[in-house]
Amino acid sequence: MIRRILAAFLLLLSLPTFAQDQVPMADLMRSSGKIYVVVGVLVIIFVGIVVYLWSLDKRLTKMEKQSK
């Protein structure tokens, strides 16, 4: 239900742009909602890198404590 309301809301938001579609944009991808897949992939990759940096940070903190 929430998803449908969200979809309707997003469609409403994009209505004014239909008037000026001489320039091709990724409307199809967006209307079928699949751009979110790409967003998801990028978020996962970035979160993965952050987790990696975070674990390096923790390991360094531990080593710094040991060497004191």
Binding site: Y36, L42, L53, L60
Partner: protein
């Protein structure tokens, strides 16, 4: 957790830039089409690089006035991450150029300037590697770093504006802000720059601490 807040802030700003950068409405322009969104990713690499290299310059100047080797370490580790961001900027720019300007590399003053700048900073690393004495290495590389930064400003910021460049805002070309009257893009662009810079400084932080541990082992 103390001292971690800026790393977390950086993560959230970049996450916001990824989600907002792909989903928020952008101006519809021919040729650019959806690639205008690269402003949030490609251009931020360069801005963050300049922020990091400026920080590196400040550390180098502080080294020259204080003589503390800690400043030297900070200067070189910050410059290394800055170079990484610059390389990512060149590679992403090359891909973007292929699909908007028609070739992976065009003879544009900003592109050639960027390539020269990166070579100058790579030479900074080579220079450091060739000097054994830590004090001498610190002093010479600090002076070189100031010299490199001046060239960076000349090649990336001044020359492309004096001559003709395909880049927006250069050689009489309109900048993105001219198209973008509602300032919508700035809402993502500026946070993205701050976010990537903070991630960059986080990497600097890790590199510097690793260096300190390594040099402790040598003693």
């Amino acid at each position: 957790m103390k001292g971690m807040w800026w790393k977390i802030l950086g993560v959230f700003l970049v996450l916001y830039a990824i989600v907002g950068g792909l989903l928020i409405e952008v101006p519809r322009l021919p040729i650019l089409n959806e690639t205008i969104r690269n402003l949030y990713f490609h251009v931020t690499m360069w801005f963050s690089m300049i922020i990091l290299l400026t920080a590196s310059l400040v550390h180098s100047i502080q080294y020259l006035s204080s003589g503390s080797l800690e400043r030297d370490t900070r200067a070189t580790e910050t410059a290394s991450v800055g170079i990484l961001l610059g390389l990512l900027g060149v590679i992403t720019g090359s891909l973007w150029a292929k699909f908007t300007w028609g070739a992976y590399w065009v003879n544009d003053p900003k592109l050639n300037g960027a390539a020269i700048t990166i070579l100058i900073y790579l030479a900074y690393n080579i220079l450091r590697g060739s000097l054994e004495d830590p004090k001498k290495r610190a002093r010479i590389s600090a002076v070189y770093n100031i010299f490199a930064y001046v060239l960076l400003i000349v090649f990336l910021i001044i020359l492309p504006r004096v001559t003709d460049s395909l880049h927006p805002g250069n050689g009489g070309n309109p900048a993105f802000s001219t198209y973008d009257l509602d300032n919508n893009m700035r809402l993502v662009f500026y946070p993205a720059i701050i976010g990537w810079s903070l991630i960059g400084f986080w990497m600097v932080n890790l590199r510097r601490r690793l260096f300190l541990l390594e040099s402790k082992d040598d003693d």
